[in-house]
Amino acid sequence: MPGAAPDLRTALGGADLPNPVLTAAGCAGSGRELAQFFDIARLGAVTTKSVMLEARAGRPAPRMAETPSGMLSAVGLQGPGVDVFLQRDLPWLISRGGRAAVSVAGGTPAEYAEVAHRVEEAGGASLIELNLSCANPADQGRHFAVDPDAAAGVVAAVRARLSGGVPVFAKLSPDTADIVALAKACVQAGADGLALINTVRGMAIDTATMRPAVAGGGGGVSGPAIRPIALGCVYDVHAALPDVPLIGMGGVHAGTDVLEFMLAGASAVAVGTANFHDPSACVRILREFTEALDEHGIARAADLVGGAHRPIGAALGR
């Protein structure tokens, strides 16, 4: 017999969300397109597409290729720039009752800081996520996210520029030698939480043209193909930093995937490539997740967080 509806609320370093299902950056625009299919206010939050200081055209086409249970993409952060975003996109999302996690990108720590500052000034964002998978010109174009010092430099620059009202999450990449070291560096530099993972570096070759299937020499793999990698990162980082809130992502496709990520240590979960496969994916996943909680007799979703690390038989909020 079903009891009362489970309590889905989750806290992300000061951002209180009604449920733990978010969209992943770059996979839902600013919510407008998906709002044709469901009420975006039903989501925990919409993570908006990474925004930079200026407009950006992105990478040439072809930008994506289907891969087994995933896709390879190289969009290159096409976007209108922060001012247009704050004038046009963010107010629209807020006006629809949506909560915004604003993803911020930059070419230098100062650019990240300036964009984050403008976002904070404009008001309305529930959370700022730093997309650290951007080329760092001071490091031969390697991503900020490969190196703990470079990543921490971005976080510290952003922190110094914000007054502190909006939680800042650093989004990490699995393409690094030691993701736990990276996580610790970002937290020490002032990150309120971490989002993991970004896409995994990959390649696909078009055998008809005998050339890379995406322009510009490879891209990032996303989708269920990378889910075990993402879960491994969430699990390891939660083990090392159990008090730091995590947003888990990487191939979330069903309600049970949310359960898995939360048991590994995530306080919320973001849905990415699944939105491309099914524009209603987020609300389906949220429904399936709620049903799964019911099935397991779990009253509070927050009790799941890190559950897989606890000894067998430890209470799970039943």
């Binding site: 770059g26 989708g223 209603s280």
Partner: protein, 301 residues
């Protein structure tokens, strides 16, 4: 949730037919059918619920009928695993359909002469367009090209709806040997065409657009770019298009298109980021450029 926006439905398959080199699938999709305007497309999930193929396949709508509350037909050539899976569907199987998507063909207000140019399976969206134009009293002429006879799309339908229908094949196995671009000038002259509509491969659209410009005739093209989501969020299907303000943007063919004014598409730069596109490396806004120029002038003087 706007009445004009797309809907997502699990649509039963009515029929799967082989038509020459193509497969034609008709699904019962009343919500899509009632919203549809010619030039729009549907996207279809392939491989079933546990599919390892995550990208929806976009298909131009070839026909819409009021039967069973509303049916939608799309045609395709089997090219890979996804289309092979679709071709194996049977009647009453369910397909996850989203549509109608994209900007439709704009229709002329007056009963003018229209020539419709299609290449390969790219001819598909021109058939509902032809019907819409005929309902407005427009004259319709078809020029349809393909590599070979079995790939000529909808010859019978074209003859039925159009004043004239010209066919071209690369190998001469059907109609005139050559391409639609060879045949088009004669058709424009004979039919005194006022408007050109075209759909097909990018090189064909480029040549048709150039030709229409030479004749001083407006041209609407429907592009066939590879898409991932079809609804405007993934930013995969971009191409450089000049806006009303004269600025080139990397436009999404799924929501900003697939129909564009031919002269606005920068065909020579498809697959590249033009240096003067909004946000291209080194790009600066007109205002910023003017400011820089002013500064430079002051420094010089």
């Amino acid at each position: 949730m706007s009445d004009l926006g797309p809907v997502q439905m699990r649509s039963p398959v009515l029929t799967v037919r082989r038509v020459d080199a193509y497969v034609a699938i008709t699904v019962v999709a009343p919500g899509v059918a009632e919203r549809f305007r010619s030039g729009q497309f549907v996207s279809v999930a392939v491989g079933g619920d546990q599919s390892s193929m995550l990208l929806r396949r976009p298909f131009a709508v070839h026909d819409v009928k009021p039967d069973h509350g509303g049916t939608v037909e799309f045609r395709f050539a089997v090219r890979g695993q996804g289309t092979a899976w679709l071709a194996d569907r049977r009647s009453r199987d369910l397909l996850d359909i989203v549509g109608p998507l994209g900007r439709p063909f704009p229709l002329p207000r007056d009963p003018v002469n229209c020539v419709l140019v299609g290449g390969g399976s790219g001819s598909a969206p021109l058939f509902p367009l032809a019907q819409a134009l005929r309902r407005r009293g427009c004259r319709v002429d078809f020029v349809i090209g393909a590599a070979s006879a079995d790939r000529v799309f909808g010859a019978i339908g074209a003859r039925r709806v159009a004043e004239t229908a010209t066919f071209t094949t690369d190998d001469g196995s059907f109609g005139v040997r050559g391409t639609v671009v060879d045949a088009l000038p004669g058709v424009i002259e004979d039919a005194r065409s006022d408007v050109v509509y075209a759909c097909g491969p990018m090189p064909m659209l480029r040549e048709v657009s150039a030709l229409a410009a030479n004749f001083g005739v407006p041209v609407q093209v429907s592009v066939e770019e590879a898409m991932a989501c079809g609804v405007g969020v993934c930013m995969s299907c971009v191409l450089p298009v000049v806006g009303d303000d004269g600025i080139t943007r990397m436009a999404r063919s799924c929501v900003d298109g697939p129909v564009f004014r031919g002269e606005r598409v920068r065909f020579d730069d498809v697959g590249a980021i033009p240096f003067d596109a909004l946000g291209a490396p080194g790009w600066k806004s007109v205002e910023q450029g003017a400011q820089d120029d002013a500064v430079a002038e002051r420094e010089v003087s």
